[in-house]
Symmetry: C2
Subunit: 393 residues, 2 copies
């Protein structure tokens, strides 16, 4: 593999440094490194070097990016959006592999090298979305790390046959069991959670449950998830996504403590429009928290961009993180904290780490988050994969 | 003045059209317009045409943009931020005219042609910030419409001498009287409001009060502001900025009704981190509401960009505006609704309107809001003033 010397970049702490990359990993960091014989040299000319980014929660199979503008006329209830999407997929000619690959490549070009994506599994499309993203994951291995969650977006128990399809999706290579609003959608919290935890046990896979349920209904679901996680010894293997209830109930502090004890991590999109789990509250209890975009420009809504720095900005604004040391927390939710909680290889700017790096025009880490400047160079697995926002051959 | 034909753009409703600009105004809109003799022709090649944008609430005098990164280590209380700023201005060498001009030009390059800016007035800087922005306003007349609010950022009654300075700033040409947290900062709601409304009466000027006060304390301030607005016949002349309390108190619906009756408009930055007045609730009552960035990259915080489309996106996310017809409301808060509420000349894409236009790469208005694509051409007062995000000579 190539040896690459990044000459004259700056580190997040402000220090000028060179970075030596060898065999896909960071071999040395420091000022004035010698270029080994045969090394490529990349003149960074003072660009800021950051570890590459991690997308912790998205839906690669469903983005409409590049398919022409989708005129959204959807009702405002969760079930309206779920039903509309299931009905529109066919009419729109949505190809999950094509769309997923398009979006994954844009993520890469903007500096993301690890993605956890959900894939719809239901009685209409069967395992096709999950299978398509599993194939994409395998095709991009060595450039992009991807985890595929087999996700029952239209409900599990309320749509008979879905459980068997999830089982099949996992047999076909999906990495993670997905769950969804045990009461709000599936109308049977015990039944839903027993089913998804059962799949985890059967396949030896982790769990990622999307929990939109508000207030005490959502908190009750968290109670049940915590009980099962502890009973099954699944600490470190469970993510609850959204968990809006933690922004709403007065017993949130005790819930954070219980989540920490059960080793359950939280994924948040930090939506401006509603209460959410907060980064400082979660971390103070020891609960891991990380960020994702959720769907990007799909039938659910028009917002989002395959740029984790934009998501970090929104999370920073949502959490009112203004000091430089606070903005660094926002960055952690789209980099190393996300890698750790999802079980990806760590993602740090340190000797011995995999060389997944971004070089960009910013004076500080905080400026990178708030301004999202162009990505001059993206390096994945030690190779330069993109320049100025576009993939290189 | 120049006659300009914009050939082959698209209107927000999707129709292909030409736009004829003559003597600074829109003279005709329609397909296949003839270029008058001597007219310049701008080939828009399918670009989307939008009315130019309006910044309804910012602080041009205090941005640190371009001065090197400001490492924010400030405490989290409002008073910490106010005190820190007053203490840091001198150390940083903040020049309000230089910074204001720099930021106003960036606003223009990104499509904004009307700005309401606040200017600090206090016993440390006197009227210098306000005077500097008044001079900037006059220098940019004919290209940028600007309103200057003489704003007692450090308090009014608690800092004796400030009232006289506000009076002087208004004599020196400031357009609008500013007020600030009558209880939370000034500790005397009756005294503060009598003072600022008194200045309005004396100078025949409108009012813009920054009201951060939470819950019923803020609602009480609204009650007092409504009473005085009605008693003084100042309907249509009063803006309350922020008004977080409207996102918090149960009697918000009655307050919206009372604000509408008093002709009081609301300015919001739609901060993701806290409850705010909501666009649909305000409009349903007949209360005008519009948007602004507040401070952009200053000692208060690192966020913001002189791009009203980014602010519209954040407001859209905050208000959970997903349908295309809803995203159009977000756009209205940074265009015509803001112009109307601030008392600027109207800002619409229609014959007879002033020709302040933006041409950009987007398929729809909603895409422009969510993606904030490059501004290919900005036209102010009928002249092309910027291309590709940079001002032309």
């Amino acid at each position: 593999m190539t040896t690459l010397l990044i000459r004259d970049c700056r580190l997040p702490d402000g220090a000028a440094a060179d970075i030596l990359v060898r065999d896909g990993r960071i071999a040395a960091i420091g000022p004035g490194l010698d270029a080994p014989a045969g090394a490529s040299v990349e003149a960074a000319r003072g660009l800021l070097a950051l570890p590459a980014f991690v997308e912790g929660h998205t839906h690669l199979d469903k983005t409409l990016w590049g398919m022409g503008w989708y005129r959204n006329e959807v009702g405002s209830r969760l079930i309206d959006r779920i039903d509309n999407e299931r009905n529109e997929r066919k009419r729109l000619g949505l190809d999950p592999r094509r769309q997923g690959e398009h979006m994954a490549r844009m993520f890469l070009a903007l500096g993301t090298t690890r993605i956890r994506t959900h894939a719809d599994v239901d009685v209409a499309v069967g395992t096709a979305h999950s299978d398509a993203l599993v194939a994409l994951r395998d095709a991009m291995r060595g450039t992009m790390d991807m985890q595929v969650v087999a996700f029952p977006q239209s409900g599990l128990l309320i749509r008979p046959g879905t459980l068997e399809l999830l089982d099949a999706a996992l047999r076909n290579g999906a990495d993670i069991v997905g769950g969804l609003d045990p009461s709000g959608i599936d109308r049977d919290p015990k039944g839903h959670l027993d089913a998804v935890f059962g799949l985890c046990t059967k396949h030896g896979k982790p769990l990622d449950i999307h929990l939109h349920e508000p207030g005490e209904l959502g908190a009750f679901a968290l109670d049940l998830i915590i009980e099962r996680t502890l009973a099954l010894g699944m600490q470190g293997k469970v993510v609850v996504s959204h968990a809006f209830c933690l922004g709403e109930v007065s017993r949130a502090p005790a819930l954070y403590e219980a989540l920490a004890e059960a080793g359950i991590a939280l994924a948040t999109t930090a939506p401006p429009s509603r209460p959410v789990p907060l980064v400082k509250a979660a971390r103070a209890s020891g609960t891991k928290i990380f960020a994702g975009n959720d769907g990007i420009r799909d039938t659910w809504g028009p917002y989002g961009k395959p740029d984790m720095l934009q998501r970090a900005m929104i999370l920073g604004m949502k959490n009112d993180l203004r000091r430089d040391d606070e903005v660094a927390l926002a960055f952690a939710t789209v980099s190393d904290w996300a890698a750790e909680a999802c079980g990806f290889e760590t993602c740090r700017l340190a000797v011995g780490e995999r060389a997944d790096l971004v070089l960009l025009d910013a004076e500080t880490l905080a400026e990178a988050v708030v301004a999202q400047p162009p990505r001059r160079v993206v390096i994945s697995h030690g190779r330069i994969v993109a320049r100025d926002g576009a993939l290189v051959a």
